[in-house]
Symmetry: C2
Subunit: 247 residues, 2 copies
């Protein structure tokens, strides 16, 4: 029995999120089906971050145990042959038996993509938030700086979270503008439920002039979800990368 | 009764092509349904180029007659409210009563997109040809030059075409490489059935070293479809623009 680590990308548009569910098509469901078709094994899988319905991944990490005699890097091609085209394994190898994609993660990076053009919406409707409002990008960039640091992010956590502590350290949060695209990138040692989408929704309110950038500080201090902006929709969100001390 | 001209973009992934069909979901079917919902009119529509199943448009042009009292440029927003998100009207205005999007077109431009990376396939599977073979791009670019000019393109025309003449003038054909993308752009006064896809399939054979660039001349001269390469798949093809002397 050896532990397999996979790095994968998926277009979340057609799935009810990562986590396996009865009577719903999920990324985990498709992965476990592909593994059972390939190796005949019924495995239990853990992942780095359970993405919600409609959320995408550029570098999700999962791990499971297998006794199949498949060389580590061969799992990539072998599984892709059994996976739908919107879920693709990018890398695979064997890792130590106690590797846990979630608890061993040093940090995770998400991006949130906004298409700022009236054109190309037909193509990006499921892959970005399409928004052509007037936004003050400079103010939004200023607001990002208040997100960085070690804070209680309770105000940016959806209700129903099972988190025991709301303190997280955001090592990096910035917003880049390029052509018609606005991309928010955020890295932290952990994320609360809907945290990136609520931060994005709040930054949009700053861009509209509803909040000043410095008001972010007040929202953080309040620990009050009702002070932060609305939850931005799932289709702009991508789990970009999960970092580990050792691979 | 006034003639409305629409410029539209659509993601063709979920449609059985542009042209209306019984018992199949088509772009024209969706457009005519949206118009009837908006204005109560049952109209007959003509388009600049009938794209096949899975083919996209960045600037398809259609025209139809309406007696609705809607200002020309308002058709855009009004129709978008009734259209699915993967079909979007970009521009609308009234044109002269005898405007014909197909026969009045001076030239049309298509692009064909190839993603040359193993990553991001999950996102572009329906929006580009995903190909990471070793290709000699320089040779393909050289081959493009042989496509340009006034030729009989019979060797690049799928059987079943109703074309009376196979002569077309390609004013421009080039291949650009940028990051992981290869984009072929081609402009002509008209296109035969599957012409762009067969040209692309032939350029790929050149890239693989199967044909020399100069062999394109021979294929053209032969007027023999079996000498040209295979038809490239639909998902990389976009009708980019239709040009008219007067708008």
């Amino acid at each position: 029995m050896k532990r397999v680590k996979l790095v994968l990308e998926y277009d979340g548009s057609n799935y009810h999120g990562f986590q396996i569910q009865k009577n719903a098509d999920t990324v985990q469901g498709r992965l476990e089906l592909a593994i059972s078709r390939l190796s005949g094994e019924k495995i239990a899988m853990t992942c780095a971050g359970r993405t919600d319905a409609g959320v995408h991944a550029l570098g999700q990490v999962v791990a499971f145990d297998s006794s199949a005699s498949i060389p580590g890097e061969r799992w990539t091609m072998a599984l892709n042959a059994f996976l739908p085209e919107d879920i693709q394994v990018l890398k695979s190898h064997y890792v130590k038996a106690n590797f846990n994609p979630r608890f061993d993660a040093q940090s995770k990076r998400y991006i949130y993509k906004i298409l700022r053009n009236k054109n190309r919406r037909a193509f990006y409707r499921n892959l970005a938030l399409c928004n052509s409002e007037n936004l003050d990008i400079g103010l939004m960039q200023e607001a990002c700086k208040y997100i960085e640091g070690q804070h209680s992010f309770r105000a940016f956590c959806a209700s129903g979270s099972s988190a025991k502590t709301f303190e997280r350290t955001v090592s990096n949060c910035f917003l880049a503008e390029k052509n018609n695209w606005l991309t928010m990138e955020i890295e932290a040692n952990g994320f609360l439920y809907n945290m990136v989408r609520i931060i994005m929704g709040t930054l949009l309110e700053v861009g509209r002039g509803k909040y000043s950038p410095a008001y972010i500080e007040e929202i953080i201090r309040s620990q009050d979800r009702t002070l932060a902006g609305p939850t931005a929709p799932p289709q702009g969100l991508y789990l970009k990368e999960v970092k580990y001390n050792e691979a």
